[in-house]
Amino acid sequence: MPAMTLPLSGVRVIDLTVVWAGTFATTLLADLGAEVIKVENMHVWQPMTRGGQARPSPELVKAGAGWATGYPHSEPGPRPWNYCPTFVQQYRNKHSMTVDLLSEEGREIFARLVAESDALVENNATGTLEKIGIGPDFLRAAREDLVMLRMPAYGSDGPYRFARALGVHLESVMGHTLLRGYPDLDPSYITSIFSGDYVAGAHGAFAVMSALRHRRRTGEGQLIELAQAECAGGMLAQAFMDYSFNGVVQGRTGNRSVDGCAPYNLYPARSEGDGADGGDRWISISVMDDEQWIGLREAMGDPEWARDPELRYNEGRLARHDELDARIGEWTSTRDDYELMHLLQSHGVPAAPVLDSSRIYDDAHVQHRELNEVHELYDGVGAFRFNKPFIRFSETPLGIRKPPVALGEDNEYVYREVLGYSEAEFAGLRERGHIGMDYDPEIP
């Protein structure tokens, strides 16, 4: 593919991110055209970034959920850290270099990279960069106008600053966990979600681009602090505003509408390829106004019960939501979920199947929009369909310019071309443990 100028072409970003929130920010920047360089250390294992463990056992890799341990062909492969399913979709379009940042020489190399870069993104535990001597002062000394984005869980000050957290914990703190889940079950039945990572990552990419605009206008870099917990606030807007306006602490609504629209829920359905029990297929239906209620009635063949004048307006339907759910569920339970979607949508009613991971690649929308593309994994592990950048630009289409990056895959490019080290220097740095493609053998 000939090199095309993308929106962020010419921007270089240092990526010191871990887990999902930070890596999503840099994935978005990379998709949009920035040259994102993951800076990694072969001697230090960052949990939850290239896998739970560097070298998971074959037994572990054969068991467990697809998203957690579904490695290629259910084998760990020669370098498992290059293809852990939990993280591999965040490696597209990125470069990777290795350097031992715990050594003085490593920090000198790193300073040279900072001098050649526009932005740096990190979401390590608070204080980590300072501890290894590459905090903001070090970074500014290397590049005065650097845009730095730090994404701590709760911020760099205050009593919670050192709290360890994944997205799910900070959402609990912000109130999300008590606002979702089954209203009729104990809160211990509430399982993890990951939207905190999503919104923090997207805000992070937005913030870097915005700060680069500020730098273009003023020549000034800056240190951006994105506390992931605070960033999650927008998702809970209605609950926050209800408390602010009315002192009301909202309860859990399960799958029902926060706006009180009815009927609004999941209903049992069927699909081709069901197991013998025909189970675990669901269709979502959301009736958001009285016109859509007429649409739902028509789709159902306007049964007697639905003609009840009390149900004509939302208020009446909301009062009898349980009863409506039972009636609608009776109607959907014998029907194919995709057929229900097409039928209901043809009557203007928002509805769709709840897709499990086995059905995504076959969906007509996913195929038509070409949301994935086959690429070879490193080490000859195989060719698989990977997610593509998901925003469509008419003049500068985004794509997969580089398949998921292996640890240290771009050492030659970064050291030789970007940093200008000679062949002999490169060889010396390799000998001294900066450059390579494998984690230390003793790392489990």
Partner: protein, 407 residues
């Protein structure tokens, strides 16, 4: 840090905003809150989000919706019936002054009205335009409708959220739509960058379904896990299945832990019981998933937790670097001093509602700060102001108003 008069990073940018409800308005809210002049075009009845609660003091009204309030800070409102024949020259004049157009109308609607991308690009070849729709401009489902539930169920990872013998369960409120709005803002910002740097105008086709299928909300991992290994990602068999993994009761509520980085020394430090978990059986790989040992552990852990408050437990977990978070309710969060001391909350004066407290900046950008410069607009509050800036005279405005094109 912030000098007086420091302006946001998007100072000087004018956004022509034809978005409604949640996702599009969240995208343009980010632009507005970080300094852009966002001109929100509303239909005569107003953005539909003015018609949903939560209502101020429980009483409905177009200026009393908490949803509209939150998603439309710092914007200016102009009421324009874009289907009215007299509206076309008004829109053209607004396009003249815009640096970016962001819209969330049903796919094809603006084209049918003669103000779609083709027209915009012929008027202003270097203007970016972002269209935020459920399924994009050219999907087989182009005309299909969504809600937060329909979107998250179909394209997000809802299927594996919840417990096995129950239905999947969604996130709160309109969370999936907010995710999309934040992602759309990255596309809009990139398009603006390309326009400012290279004079490049283009149409950005943002499909919310694509942003869920290919975003980071675990669906990306479930998808590739299936592709790699043919293995599904299913709902959990039940609550808190691992050793310190899930939601646990305590003296005054609940706390959440994660087994993702399970380390016994840290756990013992948190529990204040260095004598626990010393036998060899606790140190085997994968111990936190062996049912008998998990039961034995819970027998020790639960009494400890039930004697302590969630704040006490979280404090112990923070000290010991254990992944943990208390389940706060919204009132507890409003009263929490960590967030209030950091300046998370903002207040804004609203003509009808008085002083209102709301979540403030999503992030801190000291040299070019987020700011709350104006409350969410009243319906049509800035119609005359904006159109005068566009060069319409008083006579023209009267005529437009009489014709019903503006209000």
């Amino acid at each position: 840090m912030t000098g007086a008069g420091a302006v946001g990073p998007l100072d000087g940018v004018t956004v022509l905003d034809l978005t409604e409800h949640i996702a599009g308005p969240y995208c343009t809210k980010l632009f507005a809150d970080f300094g852009a002049d966002v001109i929100k075009i509303e239909p005569p009845g107003g953005d539909p989000s003015r018609s949903v609660g939560p209502w101020y003091r429980g009483t409905p009204g177009p200026e009393r919706s908490g949803t509209f309030f939150y998603f439309n800070t710092n914007k200016r409102s102009l009421v324009l019936d874009i289907e009215h024949p007299e509206a076309l020259p008004v829109i053209e004049r607004l396009i003249e002054r815009a640096d970016i157009v962001v819209e969330s109308q049903p796919a094809g609607r603006l084209d049918a009205l003669g103000i779609g991308w083709e027209r915009v690009s012929s008027l202003r070849g270097n203007l970016p335009m972002v269209s935020i729709t459920p399924f994009g401009q050219d999907s087989p489902y182009r005309d299909y409708r969504i809600s937060d539930l329909v979107l998250y169920g179909f394209a997000g990872e809802m299927y594996s959220i919840g417990v096995q013998d129950r239905e999947p369960v969604k996130m709160y409120g309109t969370a999936s739509l907010v995710e999309c709005g934040a992602a759309a803002a990255t596309g809009a910002m990139a398009a603006l960058t390309a326009a400012e740097l290279r004079g490049e105008g283009q149409h950005v086709d943002f499909a919310m379904a694509d942003a869920q299928f290919n975003g980071v909300d675990r669906r990306h991992a479930a998808t590739i896990g299936y592709e790699f290994a043919g293995r599904q990602s299913l709902r959990a068999p039940g609550p808190a299945a691992g050793m310190l993994s899930g939601v646990y009761p305590c003296a005054d509520g609940y706390v959440e832990f994660s087994g993702a980085a399970f380390r016994i020394p840290r756990l013992n430090e948190m529990l204040g019981r260095p004598d626990w978990l010393q036998e060899e059986k606790w140190w085997q790989p994968g111990v936190n998933l062996i049912p008998d040992l998990v039961d034995e552990f819970n027998g020790m852990f639960l009494p400890w937790a039930l004697e302590r408050s969630k704040r006490e437990i979280w404090e112990a977990a923070r000290e010991a670097k254990v992944l943990c978070g208390p389940l706060f309710s919204v009132d507890e969060l409003f009263e929490d001093t960590h967030f209030s001391d950091r300046g998370f909350w903002s207040t804004v004066d609203h003509e009808e509602l008085g002083e209102v407290r709301l979540p403030g900046r999503p992030l801190i950008m000291p040299a070019s700060p987020w700011s709350l410069r104006r409350p969410p607009p009243r319906l049509g509050e800035h119609t005359d102001e904006v159109l005068s800036e566009c060069g319409f005279g008083a006579g023209e405005l009267t005529k437009l108003r009489e014709s019903g094109a503006i209000a």
